[in-house]
């Protein structure tokens, strides 16, 4: 069901490597923290392995708020994954 799915957005070179702007994902059981999400994403396929090769540098936003890797995912409707920002 759509209610169980979460929208994941990818930006910058993460978007280019995974080949997607965004997708709807069913979060697997056992993925409870940001760090666990990154491990799971890395294992999905070769493209995701390349995008998440160095998970420690990936920034994560839960419902548009910056989140630490140790943080619980909770039940966000939107998760964004991106490299360190270079605006300004």
């Amino acid at each position: 069901m759509a209610e169980d799915k979460v929208k994941i957005l990818y930006f910058s070179w993460i978007r280019e490597r995974v080949g997607l702007n965004d997708e709807l994902v069913s979060m697997p059981d056992g993925v409870k923290t940001v760090a666990q999400l990154l491990v799971w994403l890395q294992g999905r396929n070769e493209q995701f392995a390349a995008a998440f090769e160095f998970p420690e540098i990936i920034r994560v936003a839960l419902d548009q708020e910056h989140a630490d890797h140790a943080q619980d995912l909770g039940k966000p409707s939107e998760i964004a994954l991106f490299p360190p920002m270079t605006g300004g």
Binding site: P84, M85, G87, G88
Partner: protein, 153 residues
């Protein structure tokens, strides 16, 4: 009550003089306006453009967070932050921060604080377009941008 900043994310260029005029028009007790403009650099003619990607919604909310924090910390009467996205050529404007106050210290501190936090917290990413046609790289984040925030602790 702290000033509510004006924040905009836009593809189009901005006219800083018109923006400043609109911002301070009605207030004759503003004595100091500090402005920062970030421009696209050519890196010694090696770049033909920068392409700026952003995360709509979160970009605005992060800009508003850091501008509001500045308005709470210093007596700022007017604050404006504009950030562009899309393809921007060398010499063109990328970002504008304007902080207006009675006195200059609040204006300078406010504008600089916003730039320091915007650099590391606002979801924008720059990709290089090279003059020689080769594939452009994504710009790397600078460690100095992370450490710049330390001065406000």
């Amino acid at each position: 009550m702290a000033t509510k900043p004006i924040v905009r994310v836009q593809c189009d260029d901005f006219d800083q003089a018109a923006e400043i005029r609109d911002l301070v028009a009605s207030n004759h007790d503003i004595g100091a306006i500090a402005t920062f403009i970030g421009l696209c650099r050519s890196e010694g003619e090696s770049l033909s453009a920068l392409e700026l990607e952003h995360y709509p919604g979160m970009a605005e909310s992060q800009m508003e967070n850091c501008a509001s924090a500045a308005c709470e910390r210093w007596p700022i009467d007017k604050m404006l932050v504009i950030h562009r996205y899309g393809v921007i050529q060398p010499g063109e404007q990328i970002v504008l921060v304007v902080a207006a106050s009675r006195h200059r210290d609040a204006a300078f501190d406010g504008a600089r604080y916003v730039m320091d936090f915007l650099k590391t917290d606002a979801p924008f990413w720059k990709k290089e377009h090279r003059s020689d046609g080769a594939a452009g790289q994504w710009v790397d984040a600078r460690d100095s941008d992370e450490t710049a925030k330390e001065r406000w602790k």
